[in-house]
């Protein structure tokens, strides 16, 4: 399963036309989300490595009426592992944290991360209080888990073991435009 193919599956599960917010970590997760299905309810980060799950947590607490999907990377989550403990403590049922685990810092040239050497992010999530933690190794497994996470109570942590694929697009570079269109799409008054 490549990250781009898995991202296409995810967009299909979320719904291209839905207002379900999707927060994407910087670099390849954001590029692939844009390529797989640009939507106004996508929040693309261009910096703040590690914080996608934290942004998603704040959003999930603010909007319990919406499922909040986060697309993170293994390197990014390892930079902010404490976020799993905070999610495990606050336990928003509507939070769905998906980690594209390619065992590498792909955006910066493919240097290995600790997950290439045994670090298990699913186990970390469970140890830190996220009971709905799971790993998907095939497209069928990912499809099933993503669909469950959109309906069953969370918080969810889905670690998707993916192969690297060349990013196929880039989101707009205007940060304020991204924010404004996102907030409008999910119905937030700014």
């Amino acid at each position: 399963m490549t990250r781009l193919d898995a991202t296409r599956l995810l967009v299909n599960v979320v719904g291209q036309a839905s207002n379900t917010p999707v927060v994407a970590s910087l670099g390849h997760p954001a590029y692939d989300l844009f390529a797989a299905g640009d939507r106004a309810a996508n929040f693309y980060t261009w910096g703040s490595m590690g914080l996608a799950s934290s942004i998603g947590l704040g959003l999930a607490m603010a909007r319990p009426d919406l499922r909040v999907v986060i697309l993170d990377g293994d390197g990014s989550l390892l930079m902010n592992l404490g976020s799993l403990a905070t999610i495990g403590w606050t336990r928003p049922e509507n939070l769905v944290l998906i980690v594209w685990d390619n065992e590498a810092y792909a955006t910066t040239g493919g240097q290995q991360t600790a997950t290439a050497h045994g670090a298990d992010l699913e186990a970390a999530g469970r140890a830190l209080g996220i009971r709905q933690s799971a790993t998907a190794r095939t497209e069928a497994e990912f499809q099933l888990l993503a669909a469950r996470a959109m309906t069953e109570p969370g918080p969810w942590l889905i670690v998707a073991k993916v192969d690297e694929s060349a990013p196929a697009g880039k989101p707009p570079l205007d940060c304020v435009l991204i924010k404004h269109r996102f907030m409008t799409a999910i119905g937030t008054q700014s």
Partner: protein
């Protein structure tokens, strides 16, 4: 009104309903008051940068928030501020409990304490220092309202002369 009650009154007056924080000793007084406040939720972050991420998400979802941190934690927050909060124009109140200013007893706190204002200036984040317990609520409210109206986060500094005025007492902090 104590300075800590003033902080909470300022939050409430500016419409802040959620506070993400990493605690320190002076901020514990604010947290005690917040525990009794019916409309303000709190979330503990493991690290200051995480608190800024949470606050950004709260804003995207329509909630006005504050981030509370000790000045030492500003250093842990710089990438969140410079690559998320400032360029995306995500407003929040940044409440900084100062260490390393007048009244400090721990030399390890001094370099960062001295750097807080120049760093905020370098990032283009406006800041005001609370001068007294009597003016705390008004200062906090003004900085917060300005942040939300302009969509540019602003910082409110709580100096040690306000939060822990006696050096001898601080040695136990």
């Amino acid at each position: 009104m104590t300075w800590a009650s003033g902080v909470c009154a300022g939050f409430a007056a500016a419409g802040i309903t959620h506070v993400a924080y990493v605690p320190d000793n002076p901020l514990s007084h604010v947290l005690k008051v917040l525990q009794t406040h019916p409309k303000i939720r709190t979330t503990v972050a493991t690290r200051e940068e995480e608190a800024f991420g949470i606050a950004a998400g709260l804003y995207l979802g329509g909630i006005r928030s504050a981030v509370m941190l000790q000045s030492s934690g500003l250093g842990n927050s710089l990438n969140a501020l410079t690559s998320l909060i400032v360029p995306y124009q995500i407003p929040m109140l940044i409440l900084i409990s100062m260490r390393g200013d007048a009244g400090e007893w721990n030399s390890a706190q001094v370099p960062m304490g001295r750097a807080v204002v120049p760093i905020l200036d370098a990032m283009g984040i406006s800041h005001a220092t609370v001068q007294s317990a009597e003016t705390t609520a008004a200062t906090v409210e003004l900085v917060a309202r300005t942040a939300f109206e302009t969509r540019m986060s602003g910082a409110c500094l709580l100096p040690r002369r306000l939060t822990a005025p006696r050096v001898a007492e601080n040695a136990n902090a």
